[in-house]
């Protein structure tokens, strides 16, 4: 077999033989993309032959050769030319086969997943992430920009609980960047106002209580490493997020953020008197900590509010208290090296449910009401016209009056159009929610020599006494002057991969506008570069 034929066979077979046997098209696509269309050897051979061909041609053209040399060169040229042609043909064929395979795989995948992400891309992305965070990263990758803030918040909280503080800091920083980004003239925000699109097509930023909680957790992470200035900055910024309440009496009433603002100031050696006073005004049980106290003990209880849609078309956003859990308070048991224990009873600093329910009306509610009214009106008109039209048409047919029958039919058709318009209008309120939030945030403080010298446990109690539930310390840290202990009565990891109702079906995802899908692709590319990987082991609690 000639060398050229052999290489041609290798080039074509390479595509088939060296493409790994894969479970699905997306893995095949990734494998195909990772290899060249034409093998390096085949390309190098083509270049060699081309160079030899050019040399022979130029030498022959230049003349000055003996007859025998000329004859030999001409014979060589003939062979080289033939071989070059065969190699070029083979390489071209290999390229074509590669393109065809690529197009076929892409077509199949697009049919099912639109512009992605494809299953193999998802598993590749989460492969180097901590096992416990994989479901959260998976959601972040699949749900794209639309749910990015929601998924970053869920991930951040889960990572904080699992002790992956690098992941948590990254997630909350990116979430806050998105919360602080100004969405003006944003196409998706504009679409959310359309009568024929759901409010939930907009990128999620969260309701004010959810935004404020992202700042709260970022602040706790700053306290862990002793960055009291940035901790204070985010606690105050979080409180500002809560200032959108309709009713003035409920504006900036997130007492725990005021309290923590004061605590961060105290840790800097400054006076926290004013923020402590503000916290005390909202929650009279929250007194300023003693100046010598240097350790903050935070315990979060229960589960956060549930968002529901009320009204005929679920157009009114309401918040429901999650009543599954009975704990209403927490006590920290602090044990020193000799085994002696001291008990600290926490005070309730804030209720996340309370923060959600005192927000008042949203400006978007007016638009949703308009959408609902549009749906109702067009539906009523449609029904009315269809009934009248059908009646007139039937009467016309019965009396042999073709004009009346025709007009009746026309009226019924217009009625049908109105009904169709009504059916396609979407006034539903956006009920995507940060589902691993707690309800109550409780605090206490103490004066300890060093945070690491003690053992901590938490006992949770309700109206009927103590409640058996996890009492693990999730986060412990200290800076130069202050320490922090953070626990939760309910795990932030115990939630489904995706927040309820947040993820679109693949059908809906692939039917999104190309612009939206492209934006999600860009987001995923950004994640591939920016998301932290599993090099940061869960730090010692």
């Amino acid at each position: 077999m000639q060398k050229s034929t052999l290489l041609a066979t290798v080039a074509i077979c390479g595509l088939v033989a060296f493409t790994p046997v894969v479970a699905d098209d997306s893995a095949a696509l990734l494998a195909l993309r990772s290899q060249p269309a034409v093998s390096q050897d085949a390309l190098a051979h083509e270049q060699q032959l081309q160079a030899r061909h050019d040399y022979l041609k130029t030498t022959l053209k230049a003349g000055g050769l003996s007859k025998a040399e000329k004859k030999q060169m001409k014979a060589d040229l003939k062979v080289v030319k033939k071989e070059l042609k065969a190699v070029k043909k083979a390489n071209k064929k290999a390229q074509k086969a590669y393109d065809k395979r690529l197009a076929s795989l892409t077509k199949n995948l697009r049919k099912q997943y639109g512009m992605g992400p494809y299953p193999a891309e998802i598993s590749n992305f989460v492969a180097d992430k901590p096992e416990v965070l994989k479901p959260f990263y998976s959601s972040l990758f699949i749900e794209g920009e639309r749910n990015a803030t929601l998924n970053l918040n869920r991930l951040g909280l889960a990572a904080m609980e699992a002790g992956y503080y690098g992941h948590a800091e990254w997630a909350f920083d990116r979430a806050i960047d998105k919360i602080e980004a100004i969405y003006a003239d944003n196409p998706q925000a504009k679409a959310a106002k359309s009568k024929f699109k759901e409010e939930s097509v907009k990128d999620f930023k969260g309701e004010p209580y959810e935004r404020a909680m992202a700042y709260y957790y970022r602040g706790l992470l700053y306290l862990r490493i002793g960055d009291y200035e940035n901790a204070r900055a985010v606690f105050r910024a979080g409180e500002y997020q809560d200032s959108v309440s309709d009713l003035e009496e409920f504006q900036a009433d997130f007492a725990v953020l005021n309290y923590l603002d004061g605590w961060a100031l105290q840790c800097q050696g400054r006076s926290g008197e004013e923020p402590f006073r503000r916290a005390n005004e909202v929650r009279p049980n929250l007194a300023a900590p003693a100046p010598e106290n240097n350790t903050l003990m935070i315990s979060e209880l229960g589960a956060g509010p549930q968002k529901i849609g009320e009204g005929k078309y679920n157009e009114i956003l309401k918040f429901e208290k999650d009543e599954r859990f009975g704990e209403t308070n927490a006590r920290f048991i602090v044990e020193n090296r000799t085994g002696a224990t001291t008990e600290f009873t926490n005070e309730i600093a804030s209720s996340v449910y309370w923060q959600s329910s005192t927000r008042g009306g949203r400006p978007i509610d007016g638009l949703l009401e308009g959408k609902a009214s549009f749906k109702e009106t067009t539906d009523a008109i449609g029904d009315g016209l269809a009934t009248v039209g059908t009646g007139v048409a039937l009467a016309g047919l019965a009396s042999g009056d073709s004009d009346a029958a025709l007009i009746g039919a026309g009226v019924a058709i217009i009625g049908g159009i109105f009904s169709a318009v009504s059916a396609s209008s979407k006034p539903q309120a956006d009920t995507r929610m940060w589902d691993n939030l707690p309800d109550l945030v409780t605090v206490s403080t103490g004066a300890f020599r060093s945070v690491g010298e003690y053992r901590y446990s938490t006992v949770y109690s309700g109206p009927h006494g103590d409640i058996a539930s996890p009492s693990e310390v999730y986060m412990m840290g200290a800076g130069d002057t202050c320490g922090i202990i953070w626990t939760r009565s309910r795990s932030a990891l115990n939630v489904p991969e995706s927040s309820p109702g947040a993820r679109m079906t693949w059908k809906k995802m692939r039917k999104q506008k190309k612009r939206v899908q492209q934006k999600d692709m860009n987001f995923r590319n950004w994640l591939l570069v920016e998301a932290p990987i599993d090099t940061l082991q869960a730090e010692l609690r």
Binding site: A184, Y222, R232, A233, P363, G366, S373, T377, I381, F418
Partner: protein
């Protein structure tokens, strides 16, 4: 026949009227102020803003550090002293009292680097943040592990004549009707005499920005 024709006209008119009324009624909704939102606009902080805006960004850091650098270079105590003063410019005493989380080193590092380059030896900068690194080398030299290199040895590391202090402060407000958010940020820079505590130079930079999110986010 005429009767049928007029009935048919009546029906047609009714259908059209109903359709128009229906469309008008259906399209009616509650008007919302400034529903598309307003993109961020930079404003002149010396004038009253419409309602102002958001935080410090890269261009602000560049503008403020350039302005402070130029100003410091015109101060005779700092830039024209007979013996170049030793100065510490770092974020150790530069306090973030605003509502924006930030890395203060972005400001102080740029200021120090540009001042060092522009002052051409008229000021000497003490790298106090490198004190550990310097001490490590000094110990190796004194223990004879390494030689004294070319510059000889000194009794101690350099002390400083002046050190930069300052504050980043902000005031946030929100207009509930239009959704406009405003942030006034004030950054003060002060050079403090480290013997007497006298402030030998002060600079201030102010910015005010306003923006409104789309109504769906308010």
């Amino acid at each position: 026949m005429r009767q049928i024709s007029s009935f048919s006209k009546f029906i047609k008119k009714s259908v059209m009227l109903t359709a128009v009324c229906g469309v008008l009624a259906a399209c009616g909704g509650q008007a919302v102020h400034n529903s598309a939102g307003v993109a961020t606009v930079s404003q002149d902080p010396s004038r009253t803003g419409a309602v102002a805006g958001v935080g410090i960004e890269g261009q602000d850091i560049q503008a403020m550090t350039d302005q402070m650098m130029r100003d410091m270079l015109t101060n005779p105590m700092l830039a024209n002293a007979a013996n170049p003063p030793a100065i510490i410019v770092d974020s150790g005493f530069f306090v973030n009292d605003s509502t924006q989380r930030m890395n203060k080193d972005l400001i102080t590092n740029r200021l120090r680097v540009n001042l060092n380059r522009a002052s051409m030896g008229r000021m000497v900068f003490v790298g106090r943040n490198y004190a550990g690194m310097v001490q490590q080398e000094r110990s190796l030299k004194r223990e004879g592990v390494v030689d004294t290199a070319t510059r000889g040895t000194t009794q101690a590391q350099a002390g400083a004549d002046y050190r930069l202090g300052g504050t980043i402060a902000s005031s946030d407000s929100r207009d509930a009707r239009t959704g406009m958010m405003q942030r006034y940020t004030q950054i003060t820079f002060e050079m403090v005499d480290l013997e007497r505590g006298v402030i030998v130079w002060s600079g201030i930079y102010e910015l005010s920005k306003a923006a409104a999110d789309d109504v769906v986010y308010r």
